[in-house]
């Protein structure tokens, strides 16, 4: 019961944040809304027993990554978004309806067809109970055994990201 209440609260915050992101005109507001979403999600992760992820979500995602965003927004001094008459008709007239239909289908599918609605998960019990499996220790073990190679490969990814940031953001002509 408590789990459900918590879920709905955080879910409402998530959706609210997401919608706010859409509604806000100034990018900085949108970014802050996204942080709300992320925070709420971190709590839902906790509900689902993902301790480690919840922490990472807050520290890395909502913390570091979003700060970067905010920083760039400030750097570029982006103002409120302007609506141009020659904007995209396709996106509004085709994309959005398609999106709504797609979402409807997906929601209907997951709630009515797959049987997943009969599986109940999460809640504070998970955190108190015996099988808290998403702790850093377990994740770390897995990360350095089965997922060793992907983990190592991410180094290449990060290297590229650094190089890319350097290359692209550097002023030309020096």
């Amino acid at each position: 019961m408590l789990a459900q209440i918590l879920f709905f609260i955080f879910a409402a915050m998530c959706v609210g944040g997401a919608i706010n992101l859409l509604v806000q005109k100034h990018p900085i507001n949108s970014a802050l809304s996204l942080i709300v979403v992320m925070g709420s999600l971190a709590l839902i992760y906790l509900l689902l027993g993902a301790e480690f992820l919840a922490a990472v979500q807050v520290i890395v995602y909502a913390g570091a990554v979003m700060v970067l965003f905010v920083f760039v927004i400030m750097l570029l001094n982006a103002g409120e978004e302007e609506r141009l008459s020659h904007g995209s008709r396709v996106a509004i007239l085709l994309g959005v309806p398609a999106l709504i239909i797609g979402l409807g289908i997906a929601a209907w599918f997951t709630t009515h067809i797959t049987g997943l609605d009969r599986v109940a998960i999460g809640g504070p019990e998970i955190m108190n109970g015996t099988d808290v499996f998403g702790n850093p220790q377990a994740v770390g073990k897995l990360l350095f055994s089965t997922y060793l190679l992907p983990f190592e490969v991410t180094s290449v990814l990060l290297l590229i990201a650094i190089m890319g940031a350097v290359v692209l953001a550097r002023r030309e002509g020096d």
Binding site: S88, F109, I113
Partner: protein, 677 residues
């Protein structure tokens, strides 16, 4: 023993090839030597062959020579081969003989012309093809000659190619002939389809078991199709139109090709195919009717023509009609007989006209002639002989031959045809004597050219041919032709006189040699009931009495004499009358003068619509507007679509995301649906 018949056609061919390829560099004398030599040799050889042939026992006739396969596929094959029987024997001698004579004439006539070597090369080539035609032992080889002479006719009619009318006439001759050949070809296809052979021997044997067809059947079809071919080549209704125009060619050509030999090929073909025609009464009827109609139709046009060669041309058509008439009533040998005599007298007439034209420096209009008797006596006398001959007055050649045809027509029961024929005979007499009077009698009406051009037939070509200018050879007044031209006239004139004597019928107590000689050709494969009729000149021959035959001869002579009288009256005695008559006849006269405007009719009904149709409907319509434009439109359509599709590529990232979202939704929807299935 082999007679090596191949030598006969090959001699002129060799002459043609040598003159054609190298003649340009030869002096005229050498060209003459080659051309005349080859033709003369062919004639001489033909005479030798003739002697050999007459010595052959009857069972070795037809005499055959084959030389190898021409084409062979499946069960059909045709070889090169020659066939000599009495019919081709007659033709052989006529063609080589008359041909040689006209070659001689040409030496004089063409002496001043450019393209001398070309002319003789063509002429020799003509001899080759004509000999192929008459000596062939199968229909396909005959077709070779058949088309070949058409070709040479095209080349020679268009000899003065710079003259538009000459070029047109050549083209017209060829195409009209092709229309006829089309029928001939179909006939050949029928033969192949049903008898798998085109050899005379094979075909005749194959048709032998057939009885005469009561109504139209296979043989009738074949015969009628052959008749189409024959009408083309022999200038019969409805394909006669090319022959008058063909007079654009040099006059010796008109004499050789368009009077004596080539145009008779149709008659020869009908006679040659007698086993088929005899079994197809419907076709025979058609032959007779067409022949008769052509005879009177052409004669009527001939009555009013002013161009001397045109008169002769229509006369030729008319005479060919007689030959067809004869064949159509089963009197094949009479037809061939007339063919032979016609070769003599019409050849003579044309050569005489050539001589006149030569003497008058190219004048062809009889209204500007007259009184030439004094200037060119040789020509006059020769012309007189031939004119009497064609008019059918005894004892000249055509009297016997034409009479044989008319008598056969009557005796076969075709009284109406006979009547028309006899009227046409009267017309013939009239227009020939009209020509005779206009040309030789009275006063010379032509201008007195002082240093004017000397050349013939053509006016336009004078401008082109530097040699043909008068300066070298100018005559002020009409003059007699040189001996090389006169000699042939004389030979042919004599033949016009005596040529008929080998066919004096029994009714006149003659030996009927010609008829008897040819009889085997027409009886060997004749159907049972007809064999005897053919033998005695026409279906009704046996029944008729010789006295009535004589009586009918007298009618003919009477009619001819009447024609002579009228001509004398109108064109000698009362020269003002024709103009008055013409004025009073008005429209009719004009119509006849314009040759019934048949050419215009063909032009308006067939040629112009065809060109319009091809150009407007087929080419501009279907090809350009429908197919091409369709294809181009499809291509443009693709480009339009492409251009439209570019707008999917608006450059806006959000639109792109929109497309992705749409695609994703479709895929999600589909996969969900698939998952549920």
């Amino acid at each position: 023993m082999s007679m090596h018949l191949w030598i006969i056609p090959l001699l002129p061919l060799a002459g043609a090839a040598i003159n054609g390829l190298l003649g340009k560099r030869f002096p005229k004398a050498l060209v003459n030597t080659i051309a005349l030599g080859s033709t003369g040799a062919a004639f001489a050889y033909a005479l030798w062959v003739a002697a050999q042939f007459l010595a052959l026992p009857a069972d070795q006739i037809p005499y055959l020579e084959t030389y190898g396969t021409w084409m062979s596929t499946g069960n059909f094959s045709v070889h090169w081969g020659f066939w000599l029987d009495q019919l081709s024997f007659v033709m052989l001698l006529v063609v080589t003989g008359v041909g040689f004579v006209i070659h001689i004439f040409s030496v004089g006539y063409m002496a001043e012309e450019g393209g001398y070597y070309r002319y003789f090369s063509y002429l020799n080539l003509f001899m080759f093809f004509m000999l192929m035609l008459i000596l062939a032992d199968n229909y396909l080889q005959m077709f070779v000659g058949w088309e070949g002479v058409g070709l040479v006719s095209y080349l020679l009619v268009g000899f003065w190619f710079t003259k538009v009318s000459a070029a047109n006439a050549g083209k017209k001759a060829f195409i009209t002939n092709r229309v006829g050949d089309f029928g001939f070809l179909i006939a050949l296809f029928l033969l192949i389809k049903h008898f798998s052979t085109l050899e005379y021997a094979g075909v005749f044997k194959a048709v032998a078991p057939f009885a005469p067809e009561a109504s139209a059947g296979l043989l009738t079809a074949i015969a009628l199709l052959m008749l189409v071919g024959a009408t083309g080549k022999s200038a019969q209704i409805p394909l006669y139109v090319w022959l008058p125009d063909a007079m654009e060619g040099p006059t010796p050509v008109s004499a050789l090709i368009h009077a004596a030999t080539m145009v008779t090929a149709g008659v020869y073909m009908v006679a040659r195919s007698n086993p088929i025609f005899s079994r197809a009464p419907v076709a025979l009827e058609a032959v007779a009717v067409i022949g008769t109609l052509t005879a009177i139709f052409a004669a009527s046009i001939g009555l009013v023509q002013n161009d001397i060669k045109k008169v002769l041309a229509y006369s030729t058509i008319s005479q060919l009609g007689y030959m067809f008439m004869g064949c159509g009533v089963l009197a094949y040998s009479a037809g061939i007989f007339h063919l032979m005599t016609h070769a003599f007298f019409k050849g003579c007439l044309f050569l005489c006209s050539g001589s006149i034209i030569h003497g008058l420096s190219g004048e062809q209009d009889m209204r500007f002639m007259g009184g030439l008797r004094k200037y060119m006596p040789w020509t006059f006398w020769c012309m007189t002989s031939a004119t009497i001959a064609i008019a059918g007055l005894p004892p000249f050649a055509a009297f016997f031959s034409k009479d044989a045809i008319l008598w056969s027509t009557w005796s076969s029961g075709q009284h109406l045809l006979w009547l028309i024929g006899i009227i046409a005979a009267g017309m013939t007499s009239f227009y020939m004597f009209r020509l005779w009077f206009l040309t030789f009698w009275g006063e010379y009406r032509g201008p007195n050219p002082a240093g004017g051009g000397h050349g013939h037939d053509a006016d336009a070509h004078q401008a082109q041919d530097a040699h043909a200018t008068s300066g070298a050879h100018g005559h002020g007044t009409p003059h007699e032709s040189p001996w090389v031209m006169v000699l042939p006239l004389v030979i042919l004139a004599i033949l016009s006189f005596v040529g008929g004597w080998i066919g004096v019928p029994e009714s006149m107590h003659g030996p009927d040699t010609f008829n008897r000689f040819l009889a085997p050709v027409f009886t060997t494969y004749a159907p049972a009931g007809i064999a005897h009729a053919v033998m005695s000149e026409g279906a009704g021959g046996i029944a008729a009495e010789s006295s009535s035959e004589l009586a009918f001869s007298l009618i003919s002579v009477g009619v001819a004499a009447f024609g002579l009288f009228l001509a004398w009256y109108f064109y000698y005695k009362r020269k003002d009358l024709p103009a008055k008559l013409a004025a009073s006849a008005g429209g009719l006269y004009r119509l006849v003068l314009d040759k019934y405007r048949i050419d215009e009719l063909y032009g308006a009904v067939i040629i112009q619509p065809l060109i319009k149709f091809s150009s407007v409907v087929l080419w501009q319509g279907i090809d350009v507007k429908l197919i091409d434009a369709g294809v181009d439109n499809a291509a443009h359509g693709a480009e339009e679509v492409s251009d439209g599709m570019r707008h999917m590529q608006s450059g806006n990232i959000r639109s792109y995301a929109g497309w992705v979202a749409v695609g994703a939704t479709v895929i999600i929807a589909f996969m969900v649906w698939r998952g549920l299935r």
